[in-house]
């Protein structure tokens, strides 16, 4: 073994020292010959005779040299070299087909590479934190919906859990108005418990992270800045000790700066201490922890479950009627939490792109088959000259792999271009870091090699099957031998049509989904509506009168701008999400213990601005002020659910909580609006005014959500309206900038961006495969026509009309496609299951998508069949019969 290896090594070395081996045998021969010559001369021969005698004794020099050289090289490597040279020669002979093959592969592999780099980012690449395999997320699912934890849950885990050594929690995303010299900006930030960065294993670049005192309730105003904010606000000045920055209108001392490597993964630009009492029960906190060495996720999960169960059992304020299994503890790797939202779409897209690649492979196999059919005589000659079948099959595989590697190289370029393009259009921050990294490169290389073997198999197998004598003999009557080849190609086209059907049907379902979502009756008019959020600073949150007078002045300024029809402010936009508050209904048959209801606070003009309709009773009025009778408006869903005979006017509600005694009377019912998204049924909603809602309620609401301004504009009157609004309102208080202005239409379509993304990409994949199917079908039909030229000639000589010929040719294509479509449609029931999470009001067996798919494919098959049919019709019977 060792010896064999040694020999192999020496020989492999010889491969690159071909010249050295030649040189050595030349020297040896020269020395040997001269010694022989001298020996003969000493025996008295003439120099000439001596030379001849020497040569005779030595034997054939050329043969020895050949032998010597062959032996100094690896035989398999050597013949591999000749395989490659041979392949390159045969590519040069058919440049068009070769380019077509490489192009097809480049598209397939390029798309595959691009989507794989997303899959890699979401599912494979470890989080860029220290030892990500021990970083867990602790969540609590409520009635099957994944949920977060409450401050008291965090305290419980932090103080009691033994399977983890460090625990931290953070308050879900929100932002702050940050004032730096010369400007104010809205910057995303999160509130974190003191060990947050310690759990993640991140050291600050400058300064330190929060101490226990800073994280205690009513602790000092301190802040950690991101690298980016530090650069912008302090130009990277490393001396930050004792500096402060105004956040939300309040000075905060800067205690540290975090490194720039983490920003995109934490999606925050500044961090504030959480300073929680640990009493809260609101589940708005993401809790993470570090597993102790050797502890599994499952072990941690069972400990957490036990802890939470115990906490619930001992909870005196446990909501009545809540059941044991309402909440379930869910402990997963932090990586899986990050992946959860995009796992399914990325997998769906990757499946789609694999189908594309597979179809491309089939096309290439088809082209190679056609080529090897044309080369069957060459192959037969080679095997007659002594090339073994294995040798020829290997030649075929070498060609395929060369092709696939070239396709892979070109595919990398296409993949990179696609990723650049996609990065520009994809709105998801989770994709920010996507790039072609080393994993992707290796993966693409592997895929290229694999597809080379895959599509190379068909021609290689065919080469093994070539009947030597038949092929050499085959001159005129090429009927029987070619039939299996044709059948093989038909099978390939069948598979292509099937796969294409899957993609077409899948994108059909998504098109229908998007259409259905667009057709949803939203209950308001999103056109000509622009909106932007603005967080008011702490002074206004604390004091309602300040806030209201600020809003009134600001609204007055905006109303005066040209192109503004009306303007309102609300705490939650339609379709954008949930916001619950605890409310008590005072007029239910039995005493109400309080319930979480969708809740919005707004200004008087907001319904009108959004284009909502008062169904019964009245709208808010300017006279509904602080001090006047507190009023509320509810939606139809509320009235149906809680009112008598669908009418809730006159009923009274109150905020749950002791310090808010105001009782609100329902004075109007507004039409149902898709408050929580296009897909969800309209929940009961209670609307109140900023003027009248309790101070404490307003403070709490603002902690969670910034108020959103909505402006109904006159179309086309004032294109610079957002800028003017910014300036007008900014003049009033420059410390509170607006965030991004958007059209309401953009927000509505933003809620279906995942569906639209899938639709667009799967649609593109389907189109790509459709083109490949068309070309594959065209090739196969042309081949069939060539093969049957004589038969067609005879038929025409016997009086067949051209219609009959066209019918025969296109029928053979159409039946192939029909079979593929039929099986594909059945299989697409399974595709629909894969897509089920994204579909909206579309049945798995959707007649529209199904019939559309079938129609498209049949149409394409007719188009692809037209050329070959025409060729068949033009067959000259005389020439066809003479064909040699």
């Amino acid at each position: 073994m060792k010896q064999a290896f040694r020999q192999w090594m020496i020989r492999a070395g010889g491969l690159f020292r071909r010249g050295a081996a030649d040189q050595r045998i030349r020297e040896e021969a020269e020395f040997h010959l001269s010694m022989l010559e001298e020996q003969y001369r000493q025996k008295g021969m003439s120099p000439h005779d001596a030379r001849l005698a020497a040569k005779r004794d030595f034997g054939g020099i050329t043969q020895v040299r050949e032998q010597y050289r062959d032996q100094s090289l690896l035989p398999s490597v050597e013949s591999f070299r000749s395989d490659i040279l041979f392949a390159l020669r045969s590519f040069r002979k058919t440049p068009a087909v070769t380019l077509l093959i490489i192009g097809t592969l480049a598209l397939g592999i390029g798309a595959n590479t691009a989507i794989f780099s997303y899959l890699n980012e979401i599912l494979i690449r470890p989080l860029p934190f220290h030892d990500p395999g021990t970083l867990i997320h602790i969540g609590r699912d409520w009635r099957g919906e994944s949920g977060a934890t409450a401050p008291r849950d965090f305290f419980l885990v932090r103080d009691k859990a033994k399977t983890v050594n460090r625990v931290a929690t953070m308050f879900l995303h929100r932002g702050e108005n940050v004032e730096t010299p010369g400007m104010a900006q809205y910057i995303t930030g999160i509130k974190i418990s003191k060990d947050y960065f310690a759990v993640l294993g991140i050291q600050p670049l400058l300064g330190r992270t929060f101490t226990a005192e800073e994280d205690a309730p009513n602790g000092p105003k301190v802040v950690l800045l991101s690298h980016e904010v530090w650069l912008r606000a302090f130009q990277g000045n490393r001396d930050i000790a004792g500096t402060s920055i105004k956040i939300g209108g309040v000075q905060h001392e800067i205690i540290g700066v975090m490194p720039d490597t983490i920003e995109t993964n934490l999606r925050a630009r500044l961090w504030l201490p959480l300073q929680t009492t640990g009493m809260g029960r609101d589940t708005n906190y993401t809790t993470i922890a570090r597993l102790n060495p050797g502890v599994t996720v499952a072990q941690a999960a069972s400990e957490m479950e036990a802890l939470f169960r115990e906490q619930e059992r001992q909870d005196p304020n446990r909501p009545r009627g809540s059941r044991e299994n309402d909440t379930l503890t869910r402990v997963i790797l932090l990586h899986d939490l990050e992946a959860s939202e995009f796992r399914q779409p990325v997998l769906v897209l990757y499946a789609g792109v694999c189908v594309v690649l597979f179809v491309a492979c089939i096309n290439v196999a088809n082209l190679l088959l056609a080529r090897s059919a044309a080369r069957s005589r060459e192959i037969a000659v080679r095997s007659a000259l002594g090339a073994g079948r294995g040798r020829i099959a290997r030649q075929m595989l070498t060609e395929s792999i060369l092709l696939s590697l070239s396709g892979g190289a070109a595919g990398l370029v296409i993949g990179q271009a696609l990723v650049w393009g996609l990065q520009k259009v994809l709105p998801f921050p989770q994709f920010e870091n996507v790039a072609l990294d080393r994993t992707t490169l290796w993966f693409t290389a592997g895929v290229s090699l694999f597809v080379g073997l895959l599509f190379g198999l068909a021609p290689a197998l065919q080469a093994l099957r070539v009947e030597l004598i038949d092929t050499l003999k085959e001159s005129g009557a090429k009927s029987s031998a070619s039939r299996p080849a044709l059948r093989g190609r038909q099978a390939l086209v069948f598979c292509q049509v099937l796969l294409c059907t899957l993609l077409l049907a899948g994108s059909g379902l998504l098109v229908r989904t998007v259409l259905n979502l667009r057709a949803v009756e939203m209950g308001f008019q999103p056109d000509n509506l622009i909106t932007a959020p603005m967080t008011v600073n702490a002074d206004k949150q604390r004091d309602k009168t300040t806030m209201i007078s600020y809003y009134e002045q600001a609204l007055q300024r905006v109303r005066g701008l040209p192109g503004v029809s009306s303007v309102g402010i609300t705490t939650q936009l339609p379709v954008q999400g949930q916001f619950n508050m605890g409310l008590l209904l005072l007029d239910t048959p039995e005493p109400d213990r309080g319930r979480g209801l969708q809740y919005r606070v707004q200004t008087a003009d907001t319904f009108r601005t959004l284009g909502m309709r008062i169904v019964r009773g009245r709208d808010f009025q300017t006279s509904d002020r602080f001090g006047a009778l507190p009023v509320a408006i509810v939606n139809e869903s509320f009235a149906r659910r809680f009112g008598r005979d669908g009418d809730a006017i006159g009923n009274r509600v109150r905020m749950a909580g002791r310090d808010t005694p105001d009782i609100f009377t329902i004075v109007g019912i507004v039409n149902d609006v898709r408050e929580t998204g296009l897909r969800s049924p309209v929940p009961p909603v209670v609307y109140m005014l900023f003027d009248q809602a309790p101070q404490e309620t307003i403070r709490v609401v603002h902690q969670f959500v910034p108020a959103k301004w909505v402006v109904r504009v006159q179309a086309g009157v004032n294109p610079d309206l957002p800028g003017q609004i910014r300036r007008e309102v900014g003049a009033l208080d420059p410390s509170q900038p607006f965030q991004q202005f958007q059209t309401m239409q953009a927000i509505v379509s933003g809620t279906m961006q995942m569906e639209r993304l899938l639709m667009a990409l799967l649609g593109a994949f389907a189109l790509l495969t459709l083109i490949m199917v068309a070309s594959g079908l065209y090739g196969t039909l042309s081949y069939a026509v060539t093969q049957r030229r004589q038969e067609i000639g005879i038929r025409m000589a016997m009086g067949a009309r051209w219609q009959d010929v066209v019918l025969t040719v296109s029928m053979s294509g159409a039946s192939l496609v029909a079979a593929g479509v039929a099986v594909g449609l059945l299989a697409s029931l399974w595709t629909a299951k894969l897509l089920a999470g994204f579909l909206f009001h579309v049945p798995a067996f959707d007649p529209w998508s199904m019939s559309g798919t079938a129609a498209v494919l049949i149409l394409v098959s007719l188009i692809a069949g037209a050329g070959p049919s025409w060729n068949a019709v033009r067959t000259d019977p005389l020439r066809a019969l003479r064909v040699d």
Partner: protein, 113 residues
């Protein structure tokens, strides 16, 4: 009875070369060839050139090694010598050959072992 010149028996060249190197020590290809011809009394019809691929093969297998040296008439030549592995190989080859000879002998004389 004078013997006809005859070809080298297949498979015996290795043994001849190894034994020659064992006897003479480091030798160039020409020396090896002359020694084999001399020992066979001119009866072996050795195709001298074919020695070199065999030498290369044995060197690749690690039985012999080679390097430059000066020949008796002061010319630069490649000298071959046995390695320890080559010595071991020589012993195996000799045993095999003697075994074969014994078999042939018994066969010819008709004496079962």
């Amino acid at each position: 009875l004078p013997l006809e010149p005859r070809e080298v028996l297949p498979g015996t060249l290795d043994l001849m070369v190894l034994k020659t190197l064992d006897t003479l020590g480091a030798t160039h290809g020409y020396g090896i060839a002359q020694r084999i011809i001399q020992i066979s009394d001119g009866i072996l019809d050795l195709n001298q050139g074919s020695l070199y691929p065999a030498l290369l093969r044995m060197e690749q297998r690690g039985w012999i090694e080679s390097g430059y040296g000066m020949s008796e008439n002061n010319r630069k030549a490649r000298f071959y010598s046995l390695t320890p592995a080559g010595r071991k190989r020589l012993k195996t080859e000799i045993d095999q050959w003697l075994g074969m000879v014994a078999i042939m002998q018994r066969l010819i004389e008709g004496n079962p072992a």
